[in-house]
């Protein structure tokens, strides 16, 4: 009896670990779903925007502790989320202006150029922050855990990240499906020339959309600091997973991104309990690829690719 409830508790906790990972993956995938799904731009440097967000959070944590005001130490994480968004979005804006906008007609070339960008950014992180991993000091209120039953331990930071993810996901849904901006983005995706003819400034839409996607990755970076420590290549570890998530979900579909981020993160977390991490990863990726071979349009395809 005892062992059964123990096993149940382990499943719940393992499932919860998967959820934290799911949140970061989902935030990344949402950003990429906007950039890749809506604009068709392959941003291989998307992972580096997560790293930017994570380092921003780390810097703010250091700053808060050096200033020493207790209210700042308590609340810096909330500020960090906002600032991480704006820093990543600003870098994204710059990248769009300097690089991406010249390559809209050549998606495969964008892939190469942004890969180059990601190498440059990684080395820039390494030169600035050193090769060693750093971690932000979490405020007190993020540390502890809640215990719904004596055997189950759920960390608070995980709950906060989940809440954050839920809020942001709803915001993205609302923005894309209900706002004027969303209408312009979707119109531009469907027919660029026609949208332009109806008076939509498609270049401006591109720029804002790209920055927004990068900003979301920045927030994913802030969330990432609660579950791992940040190194120069922290983000690049996510890039393959994120792309697979978006493709697996169906590139145009936000619901698909949520479903596939959930299934990928949970499958891996559950399997990690039974076998080594690398085998779990291999099996998860293999499963995704096999399903993609059978259903190349992804889980939730809104239209058939030609």
């Amino acid at each position: 009896m005892d062992s059964v409830s123990d096993l149940g508790a382990i499943f719940v906790m393992q499932g919860f670990n998967g959820l934290s990972n799911f949140c970061v993956l989902l935030l990344m995938a949402l950003g990429l779903a906007i950039i890749f799904g809506q604009m068709g731009v392959i941003n291989m440097a998307h992972g580096e925007f997560l790293t930017i967000g994570a380092y921003t959070t780390f810097l703010l944590s250091e700053l808060a502790h050096s200033v020493g005001a207790s209210w700042l130490i308590e609340s810096y994480f909330v500020i960090a989320i906002v600032i991480a968004f704006f820093v990543a979005a600003a870098v994204g804006f710059l990248v769009e202006y300097l690089l991406i906008r010249h390559l809209y007609a050549r998606p495969l070339d964008t892939l190469l150029a942004t890969w180059g960008l990601s190498l440059i950014l990684q080395q820039a992180f390494r030169s600035t922050f050193g090769a060693r991993e750093v971690s932000a000091t979490l405020p007190e209120w993020l540390m502890g855990s809640v215990q719904p039953t004596p055997t189950i331990d759920i960390p608070i930071n995980g709950l906060v990240v989940m809440g954050l993810t839920a809020v942001l996901t709803s915001a993205v849904f609302f923005a894309l499906l209900r706002s004027r901006w969303g209408v312009r983005v979707r119109a531009t995706t469907q027919n660029r020339v026609m949208s332009s003819a109806t008076g939509i400034n498609t270049r401006r839409v591109d720029r804002i959309t790209f920055s927004l996607g990068c900003g979301l990755a920045g927030i994913a970076g802030a969330a990432f600091t609660t579950i791992g420590s940040t190194g120069p290549t922290a983000g690049s570890l996510y890039i393959v997973d994120t792309f697979l998530t978006v493709v697996f979900g169906g590139a145009q579909s936000l619901v698909g991104a949520i479903a596939s981020a959930f299934s990928i993160a949970q499958t891996q977390a559950t399997m990690e309990f039974f076998m080594s991490g690398s085998t779990a990863k291999v099996l998860t990726l293999l499963a995704v690829i096999t399903i993609l071979m059978l259903r190349p349009q992804g889980l939730f395809a809104t239209r058939v690719r030609g």
Partner: protein, 396 residues
């Protein structure tokens, strides 16, 4: 057609040679077969040999990406599989019961012994035979490429989606190799390779021989590639790259074409991998994953994605740069290669091959012709021109 000119025999031979792009091939052959071996130490030559094994991959990419329009970000997989097949054979030869007698299970590779394996896994056993290994080197990667290609192209998955999936395949294979330490040697790879059928591959003389074997294979691939691209198939590939639907509407099976060129590229890469193992003496997962795969794409892009010879130069230049900078300025290397990626895409998408070589050739030709001995009429006959002009009819 062939009006004889007043130029002397060497001048005519020169003109013959300058037709088309044969001269570039000759220059590369002179560089690789004569200049490098004559000027470099065995150590440096082995390094060039190593770079040349990457150019197999770049050649494959020229075929499938430059001509076929299929960008694969997982070519390291095929390079690695070819290399691992070779390494398995060599490792088994190096692990004879006598030299592994201190192990708890003699006669199996050392890393298996360290990981408490007590017998050789079944799929290692066929690699005791060289004949099987030599067949497996192109066949295993070719088969994998065939499966991926058929599954993807039949369902009309292409472009970006294909690139992402091949990238995931590269990630999977490298994680798998690193994770299954007892069967693959893990992150260190398969090391301490010594002999090929009793012939010590670590000696200088062996390195020289292997360099020439490698160069020979490389030129073989280049020649076959040129032949292929000059044929109708080459035209179809280009047509498919530019307007896929029109090729399909003309009644061609696009999926079959794509699969063919992808498999060909995989097999070419596998030759490079096997030659890498032979020349460098080990194989490890660091040549399988995403990063090496993309580095090989950049080599092809720097050389010129539409040029077979460019691929060879591209691989040489990028990898020479990598060695040079990561030895002296490790900080700079990633900045440099990153900028190279961006520059090659934004500024010169046709790479080195996109520069105006024809103008250079014409100019060189005119200079050389002035230097060559002439007979008959005055120098107006040797006016540099891309097409044979031959204004004054010579003899008979």
């Amino acid at each position: 057609m062939s009006k004889n000119e007043t130029a002397s025999l060497p001048a005519r031979a020169l003109k013959e040679l300058m037709q088309g792009d044969r001269v570039y091939l000759l220059l590369l052959a002179v560089l690789i077969l004569i200049v490098f071996p004559a000027t470099l130490s065995v150590f440096r030559l082995a390094l060039v040999g190593k770079y040349l094994t990457y150019s197999f991959v770049a050649l494959g990419l020229v075929l499938c990406w430059g001509y076929g329009g299929i960008l694969s970000l997982g070519q390291g997989v095929f390079f690695g599989l070819g290399g691992y097949c070779m390494a398995m054979f060599l490792k088994l030869e190096a692990s004879d019961p006598k030299s592994t007698s201190i192990q708890s299970t003699p006669g199996i590779p050392d890393f298996m012994d360290w990981n408490q394996l007590t017998e050789l896994p079944a799929y290692w056993i066929p690699f005791k035979s060289l004949a099987f290994t030599l067949i497996a080197i192109p066949l295993v990667p070719g088969l994998l490429a065939l499966i991926i290609g058929l599954a993807m192209f039949k369902r009309r998955v292409g472009g970006v989606y294909f690139a992402i999936i091949t990238q995931a395949v590269a990630a999977i294979l490298s994680i798998l190799i690193i994770g299954q330490q007892g069967y693959t040697g893990g992150v260190n790879g398969i090391t301490d390779l010594k002999t090929l059928l009793g012939w010590d591959i670590r000696e200088d003389s062996a390195k020289l021989v292997l360099y020439y074997v490698n160069a020979g294979l490389l030129f073989g691939v280049v020649l076959i590639g040129r032949h292929l691209l000059a044929s109708k198939l080459g035209r179809l590939l280009m047509a498919m790259r530019d307007r896929e639907d029109r090729v399909r509407f003309s009644g061609y099976d696009v999926a079959q074409l794509k699969t063919f060129v992808f498999v060909a590229a995989a097999m070419i890469s596998s030759i490079g991998g096997a030659m890498f193992t032979l020349q460098v003496g080990f194989m490890s997962p660091s040549f399988v994953g995403i990063e090496p795969s993309i580095e090989m794409v950049i080599a092809a892009a720097v050389g010129g994605r539409g040029s077979l010879l460019g691929a060879v130069y591209g691989a040489l230049i990028v990898n020479f740069g990598k060695t040079f900078f990561s030895e002296r300025f490790p900080e700079l290397w990633l900045f440099l290669i990153g900028s190279l990626f961006i520059a090659v895409v934004m500024v010169f998408p046709n790479g080195l091959a996109g520069l105006d070589w024809a103008a250079l050739k014409r100019r060189t030709l005119s200079v050389v012709q002035k230097l060559l001995p002439k007979r008959g009429h005055e120098s107006s006959a040797s006016e540099p021109a891309p097409t044979p002009a031959a204004p004054n009819g010579g003899r008979s």
